[in-house]
């Protein structure tokens, strides 16, 4: 409790409060611009955080950006029918029709308020669960960690876009990309193919910048001439009435809880949370046929859930060092770059760090509500910023940012190479999230497996005899079998429908 109060007290001083505000505002603006995303912004900001006074301020800025970017997506989803961030995809279904009917302010207001409530409810879970889970996680041994990483990879591969095989392929490719260089266990060089510059391996930041920023810039340039129909924003009806609160209370709580729990599952981001909450709201509604035509419940369910996934996704991050979403994977990378080892011991060795993340989540949520309610009308003017000026600047920051990491041009080449790899993978519909999570978790998985094998004299029996490891392994196998089975069942059903 002391650590929480101390962290909160620190954030409420002028400089951290400024970083929090800046993070929320930039996140919301970037989230609102279609084609740009929170992961792009946060990845590009990480190199700059090295030059900030303390890593606490860096964390405050990055977490605030996370909150702002997920919330900002609703603006373009409502006004352009283009989700600013993938997590707002379900908001387009009802937000845009509402805007077309002239209820722009109402749609935006419902979305902003639902985002706030979703964030708040998930924060309650975050503060309630994290300290307990962290204590529990300190009892984990190498086998538990190894199977947990395995489970995270299988979960994200099975629930990310596209087929299970493509998700797994992405995860394994990410793992393989992390392996060149010096083997941390034996000190032996591997997979360098004779290139001296590969001896240090590929640093996380250039890989992230390539996969998340360069690839997206290329994709955006290709589709830059996509026509958009924009509806002007208005503040009319932006505040929810008491009757709205009463009508939406159940939906708000249900969607927030769904979002939080989906966020807690390792590797699964806001998009899935939003889709599940929207589907639940539709199935439980008395008027499911109205969903997709511009109904309040649709906007509320989608936005409450996608913001709730943030708090949920932060739970495995602060307690076990496992990313709950792609942005969490980047945050883990940022912690590592600031010489902080994410995991349960962080609560013991450096409790201000997890509590700074937890407190920032709360304060950034409150700030997001105020910032977005007051500025959404102006923010809507920024969403059509000319890409011809924006994309070159983003690309320049990427390349100079990766160079600045270690003052070596090799990182710039890595950024460009992974940008092309990311672009090609997306082109063949291989999801990028498992790639990045595989890249980050591979080191942990390999070192834990090898520690476990050394402790058990080369035997894998502890995988089955240790209850938590066995549970994680069972879940992984179940998810794997279930996903492949549902993939092939879907294909069979399509074939049968064709024959009929």
């Amino acid at each position: 409790m002391d650590a929480f109060l101390s962290a909160t007290g620190h954030i409420l001083t002028p400089a951290p409060l400024f970083w929090c505000f800046l993070g929320v505002a930039l996140g919301a603006i970037v989230g609102a611009i279609p084609g740009l995303s929170g992961s792009m912004l946060i990845t590009m900001t990480v190199p700059l955080t090295f030059f900030m006074g303390s890593y606490y301020d860096a964390l405050i800025l990055l977490v605030a950006m996370y909150v702002g970017s997920v919330s900002g997506g609703l603006v373009s989803a409502t006004l352009l029918r283009m989700p600013g961030t993938p997590s707002s995809i379900m908001t387009t279904l009802d937000g845009y029709p509402m805007a077309q009917r002239g209820q722009v302010g109402r749609a935006l207001g419902l979305g902003i308020t639902a985002s706030f409530v979703g964030g708040l409810i998930s924060w309650v879970f975050l503060i309630g669960l994290s300290p307990t889970l962290a204590v529990w996680a300190t009892y984990f041994g190498p086998w538990e960690y190894f199977t947990m990483v395995l489970m995270a990879l299988v979960l994200i591969a099975s629930l990310s876009q596209g087929s299970m095989a493509k998700g797994l392929l992405a995860g394994f490719l990410g793992m393989l990309a992390s392996m060149p260089g010096v083997d941390p266990s034996t000190g032996m060089l591997r997979l360098t193919f004779g290139f001296d510059s590969w001896a240090g391996g590929f640093s996380l930041l250039p890989v992230l910048l390539g996969v998340f920023v360069v690839s997206q810039v290329l994709k955006y340039i290709i589709d830059a001439e996509r026509p958009v129909l924009r509806i002007a924003a208005s503040n009319e009806g932006i505040f929810m009435s008491l009757a709205d609160w009463k009508r939406q209370a159940t939906n708000l709580i249900r969607s927030s809880v769904i979002g939080t729990w989906i966020g807690i599952l390792p590797g699964i981001g806001a998009s899935i949370g939003s889709i599940c909450a929207y589907t639940a709201a539709k199935n439980l509604s008395k008027t499911p046929e109205k969903f997709g035509t511009g109904i309040d419940d649709g906007v509320v369910a989608s936005e409450a859930a996608n913001n709730a996934t943030i708090g949920g996704a932060l739970v495995p991050l602060v307690t076990m060092g496992i990313p709950g979403s792609v942005i969490d994977a980047i945050l883990i990378g940022a912690l590592l770059m600031h010489n902080l080892q994410p995991g349960p011991l962080l609560f013991v060795t450096n409790p201000e760090v997890p509590y700074t993340i937890i407190s920032t989540h709360l304060i950034a949520n409150c700030m997001m509500l105020v910032v977005m309610l007051l500025s959404v009308k102006w923010m809507s003017k920024l969403i059509l910023v000319p890409t011809a000026y924006l994309m070159p600047i983003i690309l320049m920051f990427c390349l100079i940012g990766s160079y600045s990491l270690q003052n070596r041009p090799f990182d710039v080449w890595v950024t460009l190479a992974f940008g092309v790899i990311g672009f090609v993978l997306e082109k063949v519909k291989v999801p990028l999230a498992p790639f990045v999570i595989g890249f980050i978790l591979a080191v942990l998985a390999e070192s834990e497996l090898r520690s476990g094998l050394m402790a058990s004299a080369g035997s894998i029996t502890p995988l089955f005899t240790r209850p938590v490891a066995a549970l994680f392994l069972t879940v992984s196998i179940f998810m794997l079998v279930w996903s492949f089975w549902s993939d092939s069942r879907g294909a069979r059903l399509r074939k049968r429908d064709l024959v009929e």
């Binding site: 095989a165 393989l176 266990s185 034996t186 997979l191 589709d223 011809a388 100079i400 160079y403 600045s404």
Partner: protein, 163 residues
């Protein structure tokens, strides 16, 4: 249908390239000596991961080829994203080329970053704007202001060793 076939062949080419890469990686790990201190050694995990990627690539090649057969699901084509605009792959390729040239110039220290960075920005902006007279002046102004400010900030505040 032709678009679908060509994208199918593109997928097959990507998975084949990945297959070739993981075979090379597997091959290179065979020369790593076995560890005497611990059971797995440096080669085992890359080998396991390479084999798994290889298997997944074979599955995906097989699936893609099956989907490309003429008797395959004719509705699948309709599921593809409808494109109502011209896709500027040419512009993306030119921009990537400019970025590669920038990286090369940075590595070789061909020019001072104060000149290189605005030139890089201007080249990209001109490609994306299409050399229209109306956009040249704003492009020059933005490239100069953003480029010089960024280089100045990185060199003098962040102490980055830019050329």
């Amino acid at each position: 249908m032709n678009d679908k076939r060509s994208s199918g062949w593109f997928e097959v080419a990507v998975y084949s390239a990945l297959l070739f890469i993981v075979v090379s990686i597997f091959w290179s790990t065979l020369s790593l000596p076995a560890s005497t201190r611990e059971p797995l050694g440096s080669a085992s995990i890359p080998q396991i991961v390479s084999v798994l990627i290889g298997l997944l690539c074979v599955i995906l090649i097989w699936r893609t080829l099956a989907e490309m057969r003429p008797a395959a699901d004719p509705t699948a084509e309709a599921e593809d994203e409808a494109v109502s605009h011209r896709r500027r792959t040419d512009k993306a390729a030119i921009c990537l080329g400019i970025a590669i040239a920038f990286a090369f110039a940075l590595q070789q220290r061909l020019l001072d970053a104060v000149i290189l960075t605005p030139a890089f920005l201007l080249a990209l902006m001109l490609v994306l704007n299409g050399f229209r007279p109306r956009t040249i002046l704003p492009s020059v102004a933005i490239a100069l202001i953003v480029g010089i400010t960024t280089v100045y900030a990185f060199k003098n505040f962040f102490y980055i060793d830019l050329p």
